[in-house]
Amino acid sequence: MTKMITVNIDKCTGCGACELMCSFRHHGEFNPRKARITKTVFHDEQISVPILCQQCEDAWCVNVCPSGALQKNVDALTGAYVVTVSEDVCVGCRMCMLACPYGNIQVGSKGVAEKCNLCEGDPQCVKFCAFSALRFEDTDANVRDRKSKLASTLITAYREGA
């Protein structure tokens, strides 16, 4: 059992508070382009999709990192898996950026890799998501929710049929 930031796009309104508070936390300014979470808005369908680091178990960015700057860790506060960057070790070679299939790591203005670090256990994107589209929760709980949601759909169909 581990915690992760989960995304429920049914609830996302595309407000971008996640991006704003992420960039504020990590860069001291409000600037969505520097955020480590990024929303994409599909206006016609009224759907917004936030994309952020999945903290992969077998992380390609970690595997490809030649300097050893990227490491798989367990967050001290929450016990969550988290891929962290040792800034003084990183050489800014961008191999991680090329390896990540999701675009969730990049080399920023400081010349070192930047990615989600779960804000040391208090993710600001989650904290300021007014719609609970983002949650920092046990993966088990998320899976249970998904199953019970499916079960509700089935029972509704059953009752309508009965």
Partner: protein
Amino acid sequence: MYGWTGKVLRVDLTNQRSSVEALDYKAATDYIGGLGLGVKYLYDEIDPTVDPYSPKNKLLFATGPLTGTGAPSSGRYMVVTKSPLTGGIANSGASGEWAMQLKYAGWDMIILEGKAAKPVYLFIDDDRVTFGDAAPLWGKNSLETEEAVADLTAPDAHVACIGPAGEKMVRFACVMNDKGRAAGRSGVGAVMGSKNLKAIAVRGTGGVKVADPDRFYKAVEAAYETLNTPVVAWFHGVGTPGVLDLVQSFGALPTRNFSTGVFEDYEKLSGDVLASKYSVRDHMGLGCPACPIACGRVSKVTTPEFAGVGEGPEYETIGMFGSNCGVSDFEAVCKANFICNEMGMDTISAGNSIACAMEMFERGLIPQEDIGFPLTFGDGSAMVRLTEMMAKREGFGDLLAEGSYRMAEHYGTTEYFMGVKKQEFPAYDGRSLQGMGLGYATQPRGACHIRGEAQDLDLYGVVVWRITKDRGIDKVDPLRWDDKPLLAKEVQDWFCMIDSCGLCNFIFFLHVDEDQTRELLEAGTGIDMGGYEGFKRTGERIFNIQTLFNRRAGMTSADDTLPKRMLEEPMPGGPGKGMVVRLAEMLPPYYELRGWDAEGNLTPEKAAELGLTLPKIKAKKAAATEASDQA
């Protein structure tokens, strides 16, 4: 500089040149940004008697110091110019990514001057400013324009533009941005059209820094806490249309050109019908940037006659095209709304103007041959047809595109024009909401619901602001008038601050208060407002400079009035039955509280207190001439 970017972009459309100026820091601390700062610059730079369509009129796009930050609902910009509808000050705001991008591109404000010889669009790519040929875009609707301009500039650029209504200078044309957001009122889009400016694309890669990050963070956190309520969640589900039932219950829902405040078919127009039946997503829609409310939604109608898809309709739109036109067919209302958004036309003035024409037609004041078809209350098809004709200035629509005041004047009587200062009322009947009545009469931009009208206090029951809390008021009676001069003045001044910070006033009727706003502003910019008193005084200064603009433009206290219907015809039914707006009782004490003389002019003492310079004698003389022309 914190909060502000410290830079103003001045664009000379005539010669297609642009220049960079440092933000006037004194003006910024005195007038903050958005509404206040825009009006201050306009006031200092143009002759208020100028023809709104003259190249000498200027068009300003202003963000606030909080725009682009994480402050809730701060993704706003304000368009400021001289209004072609009212002849006075125009300031129309909208939210959207466009506002954020302008700030991230490094600009507090754009000042557009002169007039392009041929249609152009502007691309602001951080600090690079380029002009493009908009001839191929001319005639495109707002949605098509946004896409076309993004194709011509950058896929991640955001676009504010005019539709065909702005090109044709419909007197209540909007500036549209981000697929259906509108800087709607007072014809700011018509001024943009008069300057041959089709669109402004913006892309910004910078950020916004705040003066005291820890203090600002705490202020944002507190505001989010305030907004974490079941009412906000409800409002997210239904949006502004959700208030229609409430307005009906107060007997303030404009019906058949404000002949009454109760609409027998109001249930067919309720917010839940829209949210469940026509919303692309059931009780769900995307919101504006940085907003924890997300009241927006996209609706879709498939019935062939009224088919379409787009943002809205909002409550005011439903009130104007729905009950006020006697129309209970939601699909017709949606269609009229889609047309307005695509064409770039204010739904409030458009719907109200049609209602006015309907009444005048039914009274035999407008002959059917002028319109081309019967125009009776309740006829959704005729309403939709006329909406399109207005936007394209076809037939009778050409006359109605001048606004209902000028249309009515053409037929010899303005008695059935429902508005103030030639701008149409939005969707509240002032007889059932006395504070609203006073607000309509005194708002510098003409009849308006969103620049601090007192309906928040009585209708929405917001009593958490210091305006009421400090006075121990826990309930405001909508039919009482003796308390309204003070309340209306205070709410107007308070909302001047909201609209100048770059915040959306919806967070305030959802209970964010003056102190929280001051905290955000001070922590964001580093300025000291001088406590609550100083904060209020700044709001009062911003309100007054708008009125000074109007006085110099030729308006007098005679313009602070209401249609005869509001003043003399008692409300026929509902909770406000028997009421007229008690303006004669409210206006003198209101003027006194404002520090104005009996003629509605700012007294030298009050001007000195607010740090305002009274207009010179010469300007007054010019104003008097203009006023007699209008009379």
